[in-house]
Amino acid sequence: MESREDGREDNQMRQLACERNLLNRADGSARWSQGQSCVLAAVYGPRSTVGRKENPEQANIEVVFKPKIGFAGVEEHELEHVIRKTVEGVVLTSLHPRTGISVILQVLQNDGSVLACAINATSMALIDAGVPLKGLVAAVAIAVQESGGLILDPLLTEQKLARGMVTVAFVDAQPTEAGVPTEADTLTCTTSGLFSADQYLDSLNWGRTACSRIAAFCRVSLERYQRGSQMLA
């Protein structure tokens, strides 16, 4: 089997890293990196909103996606939309009517899978801000190669050579106290490029497995952070 340019297996993630509570003016913040890809997320809110944004039934969610260089264009606005829909799916918005939650995302480095990276960063920043969530969100990208094979968490170079891309986000499957895991809910799924139905379904399965591993990482990270902050207090 031909190995990938950074020596990973096809279904292997890059190394994950997460740091929270970096920004002192934001209610919550997180920096999430997958290998060389890195996104900084800041969450403000729930805070008061005015005018058109004010919804009497639920919190209004606003996402701003800033690329590493230059101004946000059509591509960034599309990503903003996807991230907003994802956040709306997981935040208990009905608990905070007439308020707004702003998510600001800044790409620090783009080495592929930046949407997945941004969703993961958003999830951790929301948790840091204490926004009530239905569960942990984890996202991952899968690229369909020219040869038809799938690769997990593609690099930017792999992404450019790929025939298609699938990015999936799941609300994590949480083992209950009885030890029976609940089914992970698909939260978001976006695709680009051309591939077959089988390849699509395979990548969803890959995504599901990878996301549960990412969620496990989040869980360890959160527990360690919480224990650490408790020791400081």
Binding site: S48, L92, I127, G130, P132, L133, K134, G135, L136, V171, D172, Q174, T176, E177, T182, C218, R219, L222, E223, Q226, R227, S229, Q230, A233
Partner: protein, 188 residues
Amino acid sequence: MEGKLVLPGENICPISEFDVGEGTFAREDFVCSALVGYVQIVNATSAGQASTITVMRGNEQTCVPKSGDIVTVKVVKINPRLASVDILCVGQRVLEESFSGIIRQQDVRATEVDKVEILSSFRPGDIVRAEVISLGDSRSYYLSTAKNELGVVSAKSVAGAQLVPVSWQEMQCPATLAKEYRKVAKTA
């Protein structure tokens, strides 16, 4: 189960056992956590009612003034209509960050409400015990001192000495023996 660290989406217990409280939500037959925090059980206040499960974040200020609470405040600014104050304590608990509140002219005392003069009731720097009457507007809580046990508990005179209460409306400076007007709290 109490004190356990939970993460968003984690099942805490079957919904049949407890009611859903702050920081949790119901999903199918379980009470789930919506935050990263520690499980707390709030016991039922009346018989026949189930206890409530809440999830508290470890690092945040959990004490917030609510209507009916007795608070300890410091007067920061006065004008003929109201006194602006900083809420420093709620009940026995000291706040990490103060909240702003106002005591309106009509809330200073219980009788002869329209004859109240703010300037002869409070002075900036006074420590006052007050009751929260409402959450007020977006800027400040509305407070009241319209009870015998509420009002100024500690104040300094113009000369800088600690004032001693002499009646419910007057305090005296031990250094100059000058009397100053205050809405004095009757302390036990």
